[in-house]
Amino acid sequence: MITDLFDWFGDPAHWSGPDGVPQRLLEHLGYTALSLVIALVIAVPLGLFVGHTGRGGVALVSAGNAIRALPTLGLVTFLFLLFTESVTSTIIGLVVLAVPPILAGTYAGLQATDHGVVDAAQGIGMTGWQRLWKVEVPISLPLVLGGIRNAVLQLVATAAVAAYVGLGGLGRFLLDGLAILDYAQVIAGALLTTLLAIVLDVLFALLNRALVPKGVRLATAAATGKKVAA
């Protein structure tokens, strides 16, 4: 079985052309990136608004939970019958699934911000916008990024499932392999999809380190009793 897998990856035919690994990988990344950008444009402002003003929080959380329970395969097949075109329907489905985690992260981040800090910002004369961008957003950044990271994992996984309605990407190897019982191809697809998810996950961990202000990291570390190299 392992040798079959090596043979599959060693075959140059699997590395070029429209169903080669590089092309499928780019497709998968493309769907993920496009849906992520659209979801960010929708979810981040909404989460910031609700978190900052505190209006509509309960409605937002329950709507988000309901969407989380949506079966991805059901959503994708439903949208495909509606739009009869795999890329459009999948991107819409991916956006629907990516919005709740980002929204939840943004909202939770702002909610978790210490009221005393926000009051202090107001006390020294910061306007609403200044409080939002200079205080609330930097402090809630770890939770916001955590939400985005969850959304990305969800997107990579669902884009693979969407191969069922004819979408390109790495899911093709999985499902086409299953259809002709070529287990080496199935495992190769599974391995590539998993690697993509892990690489993106690690990138987000690094992004978190790069973006979160040192003060916030130190404060979090102090609260959880861990030491951080200053």
Partner: protein, 227 residues
């Protein structure tokens, strides 16, 4: 023909209704068995990690890594790992058990960490042995945090079972592949609605169980004082 006429016709067939019910039954089994197995495994892993620091780091890394694996990929890799047939529903059970465990390890560890040392000292003082202390004191006090994780895992499992239809296992996902192949909205809509209702019902049951297991929470904040 409007969608509702189509839906009415679909649901008026006794054959369809029997099929839907059996899919629903499969779905409940395929989503909840891994939930129970995952809770047990996560508690065992949490117990180990709570007592032994090296195990804790390994567990956290492993849980994070396993949770990253996309569902469809995990479903198809399981047969190669445990030697089951590729269309066997055991693959879905094992995969979802892995997800549930991975998701719950952190809440279990957090919850065990949050048990006030004074309570544990009191249990030790009245003569509780370690095993009894764990099951009678530490674990019950962890229930509120653990329950929050279990609710997330239950929703996630109920939603993910459907993906199993792509590798030929039962559950409500069959309605999606069926509707897709016949270009027929009714089974898909029925499947989505039943999945949502099932998630809601199981969530309510879990909240009920949590309340039963944590009577002190209802008695107000007089229970455990956090130092």
């Amino acid at each position: 023909m409007s969608f509702f006429d189509e839906l009415g016709r679909y649901l008026s067939s006794g054959n369809n209704r029997a099929g839907i019910l059996s899919d629903l039954g499969d779905h409940v089994y395929l989503a909840l068995l891994p939930l129970v197995l995952g809770i047990v495994l996560a508690i065992a892993a949490g117990w180990l990690g709570h007592r032994w620091q090296p195990a804790r780091s390994v567990l956290m890394v492993l849980a994070n890594l396993l949770y990253t694996i996309p569902s469809l990929a995990l479903f198809v890799v399981i047969p190669g790992l445990i030697g089951s047939k590729i269309l066997d529903s055991i693959n879905v059970v094992v995969a979802l058990t892995i997800y549930t465990t991975a998701l719950l390890v952190r809440p279990v560890l957090d919850a065990l960490d949050a048990v006030p040392p004074s309570v544990i000292a009191a249990a030790t003082a009245v003569g509780y042995k370690p095993v009894r202390k764990f099951f009678a004191v530490e674990l019950p006090l962890s229930v509120p945090v653990l329950a929050a994780g279990v609710r997330v895992a239950s929703v996630s499992n109920i939603s993910l079972v459907s993906v199993g239809a792509l590798i030929g296992t039962g559950g409500l996902g069959v309605l999606f592949t069926d509707g897709f192949q016949r270009e027929y909205f009714s089974p898909i809509v029925v499947g989505i609605v039943l999945t949502l209702v099932l998630a809601l019902v199981v969530d309510l049951i879990l909240v009920g169980i949590r309340n039963l297991l944590t009577p002190w929470e209802r008695a107000g904040n007089t229970g455990v004082a956090v130092a």
